[in-house]
């Protein structure tokens, strides 16, 4: 009986507009394109070649570097975004006088186009003329070649990614913290809890949904982005900072449309394998709230 009422109230008609747009303009084209992963495709003609594209994709010489880099990049960026985002969000939820100014400052990088960010940081990270290494030299450290050193290029770009994206995480988390009723804090105050206890026992658990959203978004984002890598290193030096997504993108740019779609199918499965279980785990946790 109750379930029936709920079903009527939470009617799927509310969902319909989003579903229709999404299905027609995203799901259908995606499924169509997945068909072409079994073909040699020139955008105009196609020839069915079975699993050849998938085999060819796994033989890609930089694939193992790509997989390793993708995992490092995704874990590093999403981890740092969540941690720093949470710290900033908590600090900026206080009634600081400069709150709005500081929020703007942190969010500002997200406003600027990736190309401009890439250009700017390439200059700042220049090994001898860049501001970063000049500053390090002042305190007696000789800075590395951030983007030219094959062992460091990936990490450097990941740090820039965090710089650019932490504002987004912060804004989401601030909204999460904003949704917590002030009643809880008042109750905690009466109980004599200090600020840290209030954070640990109220803010952190009650903003879990927002934290989970940030984790899902930044992890799936980190597993499939390449735009910053593309503007800063193009996957280089050589192929040393290639990500799965940048390998696929290069295949696409090279005109290997069937092959790159096969790559996309693989990347999709790869991300789904990580993200779906994570999402279901989070949902279960949220229900317990």
């Amino acid at each position: 009986m109750l379930a029936k009422i709920y079903r009527r109230i939470y009617s799927y008609s509310l969902l319909l507009p989003a579903l229709v747009i999404y299905a027609v303009l995203f799901i259908v084209p995606t499924i169509v394109s997945f068909f072409f992963s079994f073909t040699r495709w020139t955008l105009k003609d196609w020839e069915f070649i079975g699993l050849d594209n998938f085999i060819m994709f796994f033989q890609e010489s930089s694939l193992s570097i790509g997989i390793k880099n993708t995992i490092i990049y995704a874990v590093l960026t999403s981890g740092l975004k969540v941690i720093f985002g949470m710290i900033f969000a908590v600090l900026l939820s206080y009634q600081l006088k400069t709150k709005n100014f500081l929020r703007s400052v942190i969010f500002f990088p997200a406003l600027v186009s990736t190309v401009a960010v890439g250009i700017t940081f390439s200059v700042l990270m220049h090994p001898s003329k860049g501001l970063i290494n000049k500053a390090l030299a002042l305190i007696g450290i000789s800075g590395p070649d951030w983007l030219g050193n094959p062992n460091l290029a990936l990490i450097s770009v990941a740090l820039v990614d965090v710089w650019k994206g932490v504002g987004i995480a912060t804004v989401i988390l601030i909204a999460g913290i904003a949704s917590i009723s002030s009643d809880y804090y008042e109750a905690a105050q009466i109980d004599g809890a200090n600020k840290f206890q209030a954070f640990w026992n109220i803010t952190l658990p009650l903003s879990r949904p927002a934290i989970n959203a940030v984790i899902i978004l930044s992890l799936t984002g980190g597993l499939r982005t390449f735009d910053l890598i593309w503007t800063m290193t193009k996957g280089g030096p050589g192929f040393r900072s290639d990500l799965l997504a940048s390998i696929i993108y290069k295949q696409y740019q090279g005109g290997f449309y069937g092959l790159s779609t096969a790559g996309n199918v693989i990347l999709f499965l790869f991300i789904a394998l990580i993200a779906f279980p994570l999402k279901m785990y989070f949902d279960r946790k949220e229900e317990q709230l």
Binding site: R40, S128, L147, K234, P237, G254, L259
Partner: protein
């Protein structure tokens, strides 16, 4: 009160949605009227036609713009330029628009292998029967033809690929132009001892890493003229053809002898031009398109910049590799093919080229018969012309074969940084090419 406010929000949202549909419909009909209006004022003047023209947004197009303006004055044909990104991103956009039959009337694109990968017969208007095609050099026509059909006219001057060098420093150190690779390496040694950087490497812009290989093609071609054909037919490979592999080895030798500048990965094309112009370094393996770029920043040094072809092993046979210009093509789906042909006809005519040359500097000889290099051309371009006059010139491989692997630049960076050997690089590139050949559906792969 609160409820009222909520209702307000709701009403506003609904209103916005209605507005959106209205705006969308309006924008639709708007575009229709604008395209229709061109046919209205046709009373006495020749009918006004607007041609759309997709160009590479990163290229200097002043010459083309000037000619387009003149065409509008003379023939009442307006040109509407649409910019696209350059490089592989631009290639991709072009392929997408062709495949979805959404190409502009006129299109600017490379000639040679990149063009041939577009499946030209399907998408472009055959110009072989047009009179103005007779004005164009045969050597260029090969790069824009499939079989007997010709699809494009040159949109700029040709370019040379070789070693740009600083003549002043050559003079100071008493060096002469090397006729063999050995001599070039000897020059490098002397320059290095003098405390100057011998060779500029700008791997931040990865495409520049390919030049040492590509500019070596004159040497391959003069020793093994059949290479391009055999390579296209899967009968010859870079890895097992010693003369072809030399290009990879030459870059490796530059690395092994430490002739290149430091921080190669942080050095950009622009940096390279500056280093050459300011005399911080002596050689820059590059295309002559660099000359106009240097000219914009350092016009005063242009007399000090020269070029020589990348030398091989025979001092008697020192030539240069030639890059064909990008071309302008007409889309088969255009509704104004006649106007577009008229556009091209004027562009390559005596008058058209005159206007073009007033607005652009030549980076090499023009591929149009009877159009001589202007007197005030750069010193380096004149030096390049000498090779042509002696017949010591070969087109780059990409103009003789439809095959060019997309990963070449990264592979060359790896060789130049010593990550992999020349032999490994050649093998890796052969694999890259194999993929490309299969995608193009060439026979024998």
């Amino acid at each position: 009160m609160k409820l009222l406010k909520n209702k307000f929000v709701f009403v506003v949202s609904v209103f916005m949605l209605i507005l959106l549909t209205a705006a969308a419909c309006a924008s639709d009909s708007g575009s229709e009227t604008s395209s229709g209006s061109s046919e209205e004022d046709t009373s006495n003047e020749p009918e006004e036609v607007t041609l759309t023209f997709l160009i590479d947004g990163t290229k200097k197009m002043d010459g083309v713009y000037a000619v387009a303006e003149e065409i509008e004055k003379r023939f009442n044909i307006k040109t509407e330029f649409e910019v696209r990104p350059s490089g592989t991103e631009g290639d991709n956009l072009v392929k997408t628009r062709l495949a979805t039959r959404e190409m502009t009337d006129l299109m600017w694109y490379n000639s040679g292998s990149l063009f041939k990968a577009l499946n030209p017969e399907e998408y472009f208007v055959d110009l072989s029967n047009e009179d103005f095609i007779n004005r164009i050099e045969e050597s260029f026509l090969d790069a824009v033809s499939v079989g007997d059909k010709v699809f494009g006219v040159p949109g700029q001057s040709s370019m040379g690929g070789g070693w740009l060098y600083n003549k002043k420093i050559y003079e100071e150190l008493g060096l002469s132009i090397p006729k063999t690779w050995e001599e070039l390496m000897e020059n490098n040694r002397i320059i290095k001892e003098a405390g100057i950087i011998p060779v500029i490497a700008t791997f931040k812009d990865t495409w520049t890493a390919q030049i040492v290989l590509l500019a070596d093609y004159y040497n391959v071609h003069s020793e093994l003229p059949s290479f391009a054909e055999d390579y296209t037919n899967n009968k010859a490979k870079f890895a097992d053809t010693p003369i072809a592999r030399r290009g990879f080895e030459k870059l490796q030798e530059l690395y092994e002898n430490d002739f290149m500048n430091d921080e190669v990965n942080a050095t950009s094309y622009d940096d390279g031009l500056r280093m050459l112009a300011e005399g911080q370094a002596v050689h820059y393996p590059m295309l002559t398109q660099a000359l106009s770029a240097i000219n914009e920043m350092y016009p005063e040094v242009m007399d000090d910049i020269g070029i020589f072809g990348q030398p091989g092993d025979n001092p008697e046979n020192h030539g240069i590799t030639l890059w064909m210009p990008s071309a302008i093509y007409i889309s088969k789906d255009s509704e104004n093919i006649e106007a577009a042909k008229k556009w091209l006809e004027f562009f390559v005519s005596e008058d058209g080229m005159q206007i073009y040359m007033e607005n652009m500097v030549a980076e090499g000889p023009y591929m149009i018969k009877g159009i001589e290099l202007p007197e005030d051309s750069f010193v380096a371009v004149k030096e390049m012309q000498q090779y042509l006059d002696e017949g010591k010139v070969a087109p780059a491989l990409e103009f003789l074969s439809p095959l060019k692997g997309p990963s070449l630049e990264q592979i060359m960076v790896e060789v130049g940084l010593g990550f992999i050997s020349a032999a490994e690089g050649a093998e890796k590139y052969d694999k890259d090419v194999e993929k490309q050949a299969q995608q193009l559906g060439l026979e024998g792969w």
